[in-house]
Amino acid sequence: MKLAINMEKSAQMLLVSATKNAIQNVVPLNLAIDNPRILGQSLDIQYGVLIGMTGDMKGKLVLSGDSDVFGNIGEVMFGMKIGDEMLSSFSGELGNMIAGGLSSQIYENGLKTDITSPTVLSGNTTLSGFQRALHIPATFERAGEMGIYLLLDAFKGMR
């Protein structure tokens, strides 16, 4: 499998730590991150949010988890239950804030990126066609598990 095998370790570590920092700056809950894994050819999503990234890092950031996990995070962040009619909008905004934080973090390392408006995915969605992909398993204390995915099409310094 050619996926991610030749991605520079340092670049991978930078992206993982920047993603983790971005999440911690946004979500005020204890976060446990498992070792990142290389993802196969495609990704199946039941519920989640996708944000496109352009510039020195081209690809997508995807947050995937049970919709209740997104709701739990919203409740902690805003001190109120997120109603069904606002859950999709909140999930998109959570993705926007994390991707914006990631983009700001890696800017400090000389990587200039922009992000797209979020797309909320609900129902069965299969994502494929990316060059390399990292899966960062995350668990939020009291809120539940979320899969964080970095689907990379191109990355400055990627061979």
Binding site: M86, S89, G101, S104, S117
Partner: protein
Amino acid sequence: MARILITDDAAFMRMQLKDILTKLGHEVVGEAENGHVSVSKYQELRPDLVTMDITMPEMNGIEALKEIKKINSSAKVIMCSAMGQQALVLEAIKEGAKDFVVKPFSPERIQESIEKVL
């Protein structure tokens, strides 16, 4: 009390901002879901202050800021974005934004920004 136009593509964020601003005693006179709508509502409503998200479909917040400044060069616009890169902050300030609030924000941060700008 100020008349404020809120601009953000996320309905959830517009609701949050409206709640914070209303509790601070301001009047939210309009809401816009992209830069395009914000510019036309600015033209129509002439608010005292505009909150402006940056990442939005149709027209982004930097473009909308420039268009609003063409309508009224002394328009008061506060950027309110998840993107906090120094280059972007400097660009917004250069284009005439009065302040730049990075998401996520607290009600206190919004209050501080409005008091500074008004």
